[in-house]
Symmetry: C2
Subunit: 368 residues, 2 copies
Amino acid sequence: MTGTIIPVRTASASYDVEIAPGLLAEVGERVAALLPAGPRMFVVTSPGIWALHGEAFLKGFATAPTVLEVPAGEQHKRLATVERLAEQMAEAGADRDSVLIAFSGGVLGDMTGFLAAGYMRGIRYIQVPTTALAQIDSAIGGKTGVNLAAGKNLFGAFHHPLAVYADTAVLATLPDAELRAGLQEAVKAGIIRDRALFEYMDEHSETVLAGDVAALTHVIAESVRVKAKVVAADEKESGERMLLNLGHTLGHAIEAATKYKALLHGEAVAWGMLAAIGIAERRALVTTDEAERMGRVIRAYGPLKNFSANVGDLVALTAKDKKNRSGSRSFVLPIGIGDATVVRDVSPAELTDAAEAMMELRGEQVTA
Amino acid sequence: MTGTIIPVRTASASYDVEIAPGLLAEVGERVAALLPAGPRMFVVTSPGIWALHGEAFLKGFATAPTVLEVPAGEQHKRLATVERLAEQMAEAGADRDSVLIAFSGGVLGDMTGFLAAGYMRGIRYIQVPTTALAQIDSAIGGKTGVNLAAGKNLFGAFHHPLAVYADTAVLATLPDAELRAGLQEAVKAGIIRDRALFEYMDEHSETVLAGDVAALTHVIAESVRVKAKVVAADEKESGERMLLNLGHTLGHAIEAATKYKALLHGEAVAWGMLAAIGIAERRALVTTDEAERMGRVIRAYGPLKNFSANVGDLVALTAKDKKNRSGSRSFVLPIGIGDATVVRDVSPAELTDAAEAMMELRGEQVTA
């Protein structure tokens, strides 16, 4: 079996993302073909994923890799966890030729990538993402890192994987809310760069959300294609790559204001996208019809969970966004459906209006 | 005033090392010329260095940078310290345009470089090294990192500074043992790549060790020239750059066996060089005359402090060296004076012999 293969080509790295249902049982063979010298391998995974999929994962490996388990959850995505894993690797004799495999969702995947970036100043790693969010977004493009108390992903590195293997059949074991939240990143990919993907997601939302594996595989693959293109154009996020942050400025603020407990990342991004679309509509970058259609599709992949936050706090938190430079606030806005731009002139007042309008939608959502 | 300027040119970075006595008071002006946009600046330093040199350092700055103090010492060179500094920066509003300045010896300099490599996935930094070891070696070449419990510098990144400013007059305030230990890295530079430097250090050891600023500046500058050449040829330590590790394989083992408490880094490296020279002599890579001359110069920059360790433990510890790949032990050996090579076939028996001979020299040294 060969799945859909999407190449990622950047100035510093070149690798393939393979996407197919049932790919998990073949990861071992793929890795053996990629690394014929047979280096020491270490898998970082969560107890939950390993219990569900460990057996299938091990099927293709002639020699079982060493398994390092880490509890899932943002609260563990910290330097202390990275240090503990690095100590375990050193104890087990990992050297510069050793290879890490992140078999996990995005939180653990980001952390494993950073572990690979830092261990002996950089070893190779492979991503085997198990959530929609990770398959669409976080496993691709080389952004790795951990959280600080001051904010998410504030400490990390750019370090690309050797390969990404995404088994879309694994998504069937996700909690429904997690699948839906992850698919918001696919909606985002459509809005910023691929109108056809957006329209497919609009027209086939029921099939996709029912977990139809062919429809899901199509959505994941087309989203990966968007991500690969954007990353190829701008590896280090100096321009084009910022577009991937549509909905993330306010989304991160909502996550921070609710202490990362009320919403999944994709849900917070969905709220942030609604606010960004509102700003774009008032700036006439999108028509009212386009704004309504985008809002409708975002909600179709909801429901968007309710949360409590103060608008003033949210606006203040966006001032801390990692994308800001020398004090000016960066914001991604859609231009119609299928294009987007980065602006730096969103005023606190404009942002306050948009956040207030978003908060009203939130009330509406609750009663729906 | 313009000091000696030595360019470092690698595939990924291009910057200058400036070396001059009294340079400290001009660092602010240099930085302002380098970064005309006037970004936020953060200085990482130790309380001891700041008390001695903070005033001179601030002289050239129109706007005082934010000072972050960290206690000196290997035990603080850990991810927990990096995390604490990163949180302080985030609290103070550091963004992707902010710039770090490492005003310190090698331990803090390595850690500050890593803080810069990881903060928001990479910000710019400048090295203002205050010890002989840092000016000769660690501030140049982009190796950054922290220690794990399992070993020194096991977690880090390659991240080059924007510039390095080395004020050789500052070395006069170093404890004598620290100056001497640092100069062992200059002896090493001479042995592996620069016979003229080695001979200068042989002939002028008294002047250099008396702290004559012109002689010291010459030795530092010529050592930097060796380091810059080696790093330009092999940025990521796949070949040539390993030569800089002459004496480091056993040196690191001695440091680990004595829990980093008995010897300064340069002293451990000096012992390691003596062992490597012993192996090279038995392999006829160096003549007995050359071996004796190198041993004499290393001792001239001593005395080499005594330490207690078990030869079996030392040999076992070299098996954990970061330079090893897929289980084979790498070892740097001199070829005559001014050249060196990396070998991978040093047997445990050969290493044991060399370590035992080194331990005997140690006894001799004690009585001297």
